[in-house]
């Protein structure tokens, strides 16, 4: 379970996120939607320990991300919106590195890496330096690396950027599989049709404030679905 308890983040007195409270259940796929600069990435950075909340607290399966960052981070899988890698490592070495900093034993790490390399279709390039990877292949490697340690909570920022249709199909399958085994998934996206397809519940954030929280049934009852909700909240409301 993920609990965002009245969190806020200010930069030099300007609030990027304010009074945000959401509780996300085990196995739930939650989508955080919003226009550019709404506060989605700031929220995610606070959830993953990259930024400290100015106020409120964040619990990841009971671990406070500020007070117990190591325990919380060890159960989080994180996919950022813009990922930078160690360009001079090969894809396989990068996965080995991630496995070892998560404390996986050698046998477990090697078998898990083999599995992920096949799942994400990066077998052909696993021994090439990351600097020669295309953007789509980097995104696949990123997903694979975020899953090496079998995270209980999966946090994804704009998941399908630069991914080709076949990669997208694989990823959607992975997200659904993870959810079915109880992994909590939090994704931030602009893509309404992806959110509509994958999420059990969505929250809409604008200018740092959560302005709507709807489950799948509530969304289907709205005319135009998620797009209709989005328009109503962000563009049509005076």
């Amino acid at each position: 379970m993920i609990t965002l308890d009245n969190i806020g983040k200010s930069f030099g007195g300007e609030w990027a996120v304010r009074r945000l409270s959401i509780a996300i259940n085990d196995g739930e796929v939650f989508g955080l939607l919003g226009p550019n600069a709404a506060g989605k990435t700031t929220t995610i950075k606070m959830m993953t320990g990259l930024l400290r909340p100015t106020e409120g607290r964040i619990l990841i399966r009971g671990y406070d991300i500020v007070k117990e960052p190591i325990k919380a981070k060890s159960i989080i899988g994180y996919v950022p919106d813009r990922a930078f890698f160690y360009e001079k490592l090969t894809g396989r070495e990068f996965l080995l590195f991630i496995a070892s900093i998560h404390g996986l034993g050698k046998i477990e790490a090697l078998s898990r890496i083999e599995e992920l390399i096949n799942t994400f279709g990066i077998k052909d390039i696993e021994n090439e330096l990351i600097e020669s990877y295309s953007q789509g292949m980097r995104q696949r490697l990123l997903f694979a690396s975020s899953m090496v340690h079998n995270p209980e909570v999966f946090i994804i920022d704009e998941p399908f950027v630069s991914i080709d249709p076949s990669g997208m199909r694989r990823l959607k399958g992975v997200i659904k599989d993870l959810s079915s085994v109880g992994t909590t998934i939090f994704l931030a996206t602009h893509s309404l049709h992806i959110a509509e397809e994958l999420c059990n519940r969505v929250g809409v954030i604008n200018k740092g404030y959560l302005i709507a929280l709807k489950n799948r049934d509530e969304i289907t009852s709205i005319e135009g679905g998620l797009e209709g909700l989005f328009d109503e909240l962000l563009y049509l409301t005076p």
């Binding site: 993953t48 320990g49 990259l50 930024l51 400290r52 960052p69 190591i70 325990k71 981070k73 060890s74 989080i76 994180y78 950022p80 990922a83 930078f84 890698f85 160690y86 001079k88 490592l89 090969t90 070495e93 080995l96 590195f97 991630i98 496995a99 070892s100 900093i101 998560h102 404390g103 050698k106 790490a109 090697l110 021994n127 090439e128 330096l129 600097e131 020669s132």
Partner: protein
């Protein structure tokens, strides 16, 4: 507007936008440290020059010789530095794809990269050398025009070394059919070593057996060849230093050569740059699996394993080793040629003095090497630092891993340097033990200082790693590190002097001398512990922030 000037605007605007009241206030402590360093450096140079000028008959000549030796060394250092910086700047910078995609002439890109190369390779010399010239000016009671003239003469000198360095970088990248730039750099390294070997051979003193032989050898050092820029600049500045008219011939030579070599580097660049860029594109396919491909690091060694792998694959990281190696070769060779035995008849305590000078010089090398390998180590994570931040890695362990990554090789190199120079000077016993022990202690404390300050002032977005140590923290590190070295050596000099004096007169040290020695030793330990511990602690705190 001229495209070349237009291309410089982003850099200039970034610089302008980064200057405000807060930044100036933040930089104030570093400015003060800089001034303290200048004063110390000035005093040291002044003392040495006063002593040299006081030597009967030869003082004046040796003083001038030292002046030209400074420029000889600077020429070599700046050319090497320009070659390496030019390769990073012209061929490895991240902004190259952007620059090639916009509608500007290659010439404009070359101009921009030349300016970057000059700035990045010359800033250290421009920042650190002025106290030497001020000391010369004071000793000779030079007029104000000397200072203005020296600063102005430096400009064509910088252009000569930059033009030569950039030219060599283009030609080497062209000559070696390297799909990977590391091959080119390896070639450069070998050439540098060969070049240095021949230069050193040509300036070998003839006789170091007697004091007369030594002085005459200094006088016959062949560094004042008429074709070297160091000679031109010495001949141009020295008359002004002595309040006489300069020889316009040498000014003309400096200006014309500066302009010629710089223009030649641009002309050659225009011919070679585009093709060279295509040749050095990443090979992509076919990266060989290494012998240790199945090695799996444990949690504690993972970061060290990753850093070591990246180090050997990233040309930008290890290319400067060539410069360091070359400088060390020159350094040891210089000590080998100093006839300690011959001049010990002229000066008592010469061996002790040489050991202390060796410590200070090695400390300078240590500071420079640590700036590159320890201060930059946290910044080396680059924009991939999010991986560490989002992982269950204790940041204290991360920083210690960075410390180990840099400090082990740096300590081995520096301690070996002190040991070898002591051997060539025939230093043994207590002096050997003290100097090697002090060097090891300095390696540890300066490593902590570098790693800690590097964590306090990280620069995760950089064009090339060499530029990281150019930021505010980098300059502060160099200055603080050298101050720690100077204080340590000065504090050590006193007990060494007391001990040697007591030995010479055949007595044991008295109680007061013993107390003074213990106090000095205690202060040395305190200074070095603080230099290590405080920055490491502050660095960890800084990394734990947003």
């Amino acid at each position: 507007m001229n495209s070349s000037i237009l291309l410089l605007r982003p850099g200039l605007l970034s610089f302008k936008n980064s200057i405000n009241k807060d930044v100036i206030l933040k930089r104030l402590p570093f400015i003060i440290i800089g001034i303290i360093f200048w004063i110390l450096f000035y005093i040291a140079t002044y003392k040495v020059l006063s002593y040299v000028r006081g030597i009967e008959f030869f003082g004046e000549l040796i003083s001038k010789k030292l002046f030209s030796m400074i420029f000889f060394s600077l020429t070599g250092f700046l050319i090497l530095s320009n070659i390496i910086t030019a390769i990073s700047s012209f061929y490895l910078s991240r902004d190259i794809p952007f620059l090639l995609s916009i509608p500007v002439e290659i010439k404009d890109i070359l101009n921009l990269k030349s300016v970057e190369t000059i700035m990045n390779s010359s800033w250290m010399v421009i920042s650190f050398i002025p106290p030497v010239f001020i000391a010369y000016g004071t000793i000779y009671k030079a007029p104000l025009s000397y200072y203005i003239f020296t600063a102005a003469t430096f400009i064509p000198f910088i252009f000569i070394t930059a033009g030569t360095g950039i030219l060599i970088a283009h030609v080497l990248t062209r000559l070696f059919p390297a799909k990977r730039v590391r091959d080119v750099l390896l070639a450069i390294g070998l050439l540098l070593f060969l070049g240095l070997y021949f230069v050193l051979r040509s300036i070998t003193p003839l006789d170091t057996g007697t004091p007369e032989g030594f002085i005459s050898s200094i006088m016959t050092f062949r560094i004042n060849s008429h074709i070297l820029p160091g000679y031109w600049i010495t001949e141009a500045i020295f008359p002004v230093l002595k309040n006489r008219d300069t020889d316009l011939f040498y000014i003309a030579i400096l200006l014309s050569n500066g302009a010629f070599l710089f223009m030649l580097s641009v002309l050659i660049g225009e011919r070679l740059y585009r093709r060279n860029l295509e040749r050095i594109q990443p090979a992509g396919k076919g990266f060989n699996k290494g012998l240790l491909q199945d090695f799996y690091p444990n949690y504690k060694s993972a970061i060290l394993w990753k850093d070591t792998k990246i180090f050997f694959r990233d040309t930008g990281q290890w290319s400067q080793l060539f410069i360091i190696g070359a400088l060390m070769m020159v350094y040891i060779y210089n000590f080998k040629t100093i006839p300690v035995k011959a001049i010990s008849g002229l000066l008592p305590y010469i061996k002790e003095l040489m050991v202390l000078i060796n410590m200070v010089m090695t400390g300078l090398v240590l500071s420079a090497v640590s700036a590159r390998f320890l201060y930059s180590s946290v910044s080396l994570e680059g924009e991939a630092f999010w991986i560490i931040r989002a992982s269950p890695v204790v940041l204290k362990k991360f920083l210690w891993s960075k410390l180990l990554y840099g400090s082990i090789p740096v300590s081995v190199v520096i301690v070996a340097l002190v040991f070898i120079t002591n051997i060539v000077m025939d230093v043994t016993g207590l002096l050997m033990f003290l100097s090697v022990g002090t060097a090891l202690m300095l390696c540890i404390s300066i490593s902590g200082l570098g790693t800690g300050l590097g964590a306090m002032y990280p620069k995760f977005k950089y064009e090339n790693i060499a530029s990281v140590s150019m930021n505010l923290g980098g300059i502060a590190f160099m200055l603080i590190a050298f101050t720690v070295v100077l204080l340590t050596v000065l504090l050590e000099a006193w007990p060494v002097y007391l001990y040697h004096r007591a030995t010479l007169i055949g007595h044991n040290m008295n109680m007061l001398e013993k107390v003074q020695s213990v106090l000095c030793a205690g202060l040395i330990v305190i200074i070095n512990v603080i230099a290590f511990y405080l920055p490491m602690r502050m660095g960890i705190k800084r990394l734990e922030k947003d």
